[in-house]
């Protein structure tokens, strides 16, 4: 028996406590580095970054958009589990929620560093401008984060020791009981903030690269973002699950569960990427020409952005994983599944990159020049900070919380 085995979920085996602590320490070092960088940004100001007046939105906003897209697994899996009633998914929903929780808390942390006057950050709520996409993002994001907390709390309460407290036990039980309501609210909120994030650059009619025509009151990137998050978020959930399995060297979720989620993701991704192709085509041949640009302008005359980014995003990280996932054989082959989920996760990040950083890069005034940007170490550190924090939270949660309901069954303790 290990030092902390009383806290482990019932009937599972975990690594030794010292080994666990070594892991935690390693991650803590990265975490402390990130916290140091964050403190520098808070106390010395954003001059610590390599952002400038051309790159007011940079690495951090990309990281925000990316983690929220990747965290999209939580809302979409929740939506499938509670509203579409895909019951199998209950075996992975916990982990999806945890990943979502990590992603969303990270996003809020990054936003807290990113704004110039963090102590006035609450103005976005108090003095909200309801026409701003960012307001919509802030509201839905924080509300959905509350929902994620609500979804994560019962999981914490299921800890073997906490569960012994009757109040906690009942609270957890009751929350589970009405989880469908929370999940539905979450899905509603999530749709909106994923969409608003898509609107962030879509409404910028001064920035032809980001600007998209409107559907209702939103530019259509609004819908594309929700769609892509629903498609790629679950892929990321599967990716992290498989990574966890690889690291813990045991199967945690039955293949049929993964397969179901992968299949749904595949079809989402496939339909999304077609929509994205149409969007790109319309943008390239209708939207930007009307502003006086050739689409190729945005992919030439600079040291970084070329058409490769389109190929990467749409073909390599779009069609390929989509096809791999909707094809039964490749979906059920471990290696191609790995490739597909990795590509899909990269794809959504590339998309967010393009719609944040590439929007800032090309000159809009004809006499201006391309602006490229390389983040400072402080920016990199604060962006890695949430990764370290996420790894740590997963380590702790996995060790002490019954995240994978099938783990006991799949890994019976023999001795």
């Amino acid at each position: 028996m290990d030092l902390d085995s009383a806290l482990w979920p019932k009937g599972v085996q975990r690594c030794t406590f010292p080994k666990f602590m070594i892991g935690i320490t390693v991650v803590s070092v990265v975490l402390v580095w990130g916290v140091y960088a964050a403190l520098l940004c808070w106390f010395k100001g954003l001059n610590q970054t390599n952002m400038n007046d051309y790159y007011g939105f940079a690495l951090w906003i990309w990281a925000d958009l990316a983690v929220i897209a990747l965290g999209g697994g939580a809302f979409f899996t929740g939506f499938l589990r509670y509203l579409v009633k895909k019951d199998e998914l209950k075996h992975i929903i916990n982990y999806a929620v945890l990943i979502g929780f990590i992603c969303y808390s990270s996003a809020q942390l990054i936003l807290g560093i990113d704004v110039g006057q963090p102590l006035r950050g609450w103005f976005i709520f108090w003095h909200a401008n309801v026409h701003s996409m960012l307001t919509e993002v802030a509201f839905c994001l924080s509300c959905y984060f509350v929902v994620l907390c609500i979804e994560y709390i019962p999981l914490i309460l299921e800890n073997r020791q906490l569960d012994k407290v009757p109040f906690f036990h009942h609270l957890g039980h009751n929350m589970h009981g009405i989880m469908a309501i929370f999940a539905a609210t979450g899905a509603f909120l999530s749709c909106f903030h994923q969409g608003s994030l898509g609107g962030v650059s879509g409404v910028l009619f001064g920035r032809p690269f980001g600007f998209r025509e409107g559907v209702f009151i939103w530019p259509w990137t609004f819908f594309l973002f929700t769609w892509s998050a629903a498609a790629c978020g679950p892929c990321f959930t599967i990716l992290v699950t498989k990574l966890t399995e690889a690291i813990s060297k045991k199967q945690l979720v039955k293949p049929n569960v993964v397969d179901l989620l992968a299949k749904i993701s595949g079809w989402m991704l496939f339909t999304y990427i077609i929509a994205k192709t149409v969007d790109t085509w319309y943008w390239a041949f209708v939207t930007v020409p009307s502003k006086g640009f050739n689409w190729a302008f945005f992919y030439s005359n600079n040291d970084f952005y070329g058409t490769w980014i389109l190929w990467l995003e749409i073909v390599i990280c779009g069609y390929i994983p989509a096809l791999l996932l909707i094809t039964k054989k490749t979906r059920q082959t471990n290696s191609t599944l790995w490739i597909a989920i990795i590509l899909a996760s990269i794809g959504v990040c590339v998309n967010r990159w393009a719609l944040v950083l590439q929007v800032m890069a090309p000159p809009v005034m004809p006499f201006d020049t391309w602006a490229l940007y390389i983040p400072s170490w402080q920016e990199v550190a604060t962006t890695i900070l949430p990764v370290a924090y996420g790894v740590m939270l997963i380590m702790i949660s996995f060790r002490y919380l019954p995240i994978f309901p099938q783990e006991r069954e799949l890994n019976p303790i023999t001795n």
Partner: protein
């Protein structure tokens, strides 16, 4: 988590369970216990009410007396043009605010009357040519642009609409300054709850907005009042 923590948790859980079971066992004590709980609740409530309503404002504001005593009432009788005799508009339309020594000297070159305060004023300030370091009750933070001309000249408002019946006061109240923000208490108002009876009780943005909305029927652009 260490083993000792582990034990603690076990212990705590046990006692919680114990407490629950104790309650079940000693049902007759329940009323009594409930009474105590309510009592403590009320004590907490009352104490925090006292802190919040009485102690807090005393801590929040520092208090200073004006450098010399001054009666608006007396001056108001002596001057011809009411407030604008001393608080006048400059030729460029800006408002002079609190008078400079220069204006005071017009009448106070020599000691007037027999009051000791007057003698002190003449000796300390007039004779030495030092400006009186008046503490200004109605000074807004730097972000505020306020045009007296727009209100008094264009809007034909009376001074006391916003400043209250100060012309009748015999002395100057102590100046209170918010320790956190450095802003005069008159801006938030003397009621710590922020309630006002008269227009002049508060000078917060909402108070400006209220009147603007009423009299102009529109919410102005931000920089009409901000700089």
């Amino acid at each position: 988590m260490s083993a000792s923590d582990d034990k603690l948790q076990e212990g705590a859980t046990d006692s919680a369970i114990n407490a629950v079971s104790r309650n079940h066992e000693k049902n007759e004590q329940a009323d009594n216990a409930g009474g105590i709980v309510i009592l403590f609740f009320i004590i907490g409530l009352a104490a925090s009410m006292i802190v919040g309503w009485i102690v807090f404002p005393k801590l929040l504001y520092s208090q200073k007396d004006q450098p010399i005593s001054f009666s608006h009432a007396i001056h108001n009788l002596e001057v011809e043009d009411g407030c604008e005799s001393c608080h006048f508009f400059r030729e460029d339309g800006t408002f002079s605010g609190v008078p400079k020594l220069e204006q005071c000297i017009d009448c106070h070159e020599e000691v007037q009357g027999e009051s000791a305060d007057e003698a002190y004023f003449v000796e300390e300030y007039v004779n030495k040519g030092r400006e009186v370091p008046w503490l200004i009750y109605s000074r807004q933070p730097d972000c505020v642009f306020f045009s007296h001309a727009a209100h008094v000249k264009k809007g034909e408002m009376e001074c006391n609409t916003c400043h209250g019946p100060i012309e009748d006061s015999d002395n100057l109240k102590p100046y209170q300054e918010n320790r956190l923000t450095g802003v005069s208490r008159d801006i938030w108002g003397y009621n710590i709850g922020g309630f006002k009876k008269n227009i002049w009780d508060r000078m917060k943005m909402d108070d400006c907005a209220e009147c603007h909305k009423k009299s102009l029927g529109v919410k102005d652009a931000c920089f009409v009042c901000h700089k």
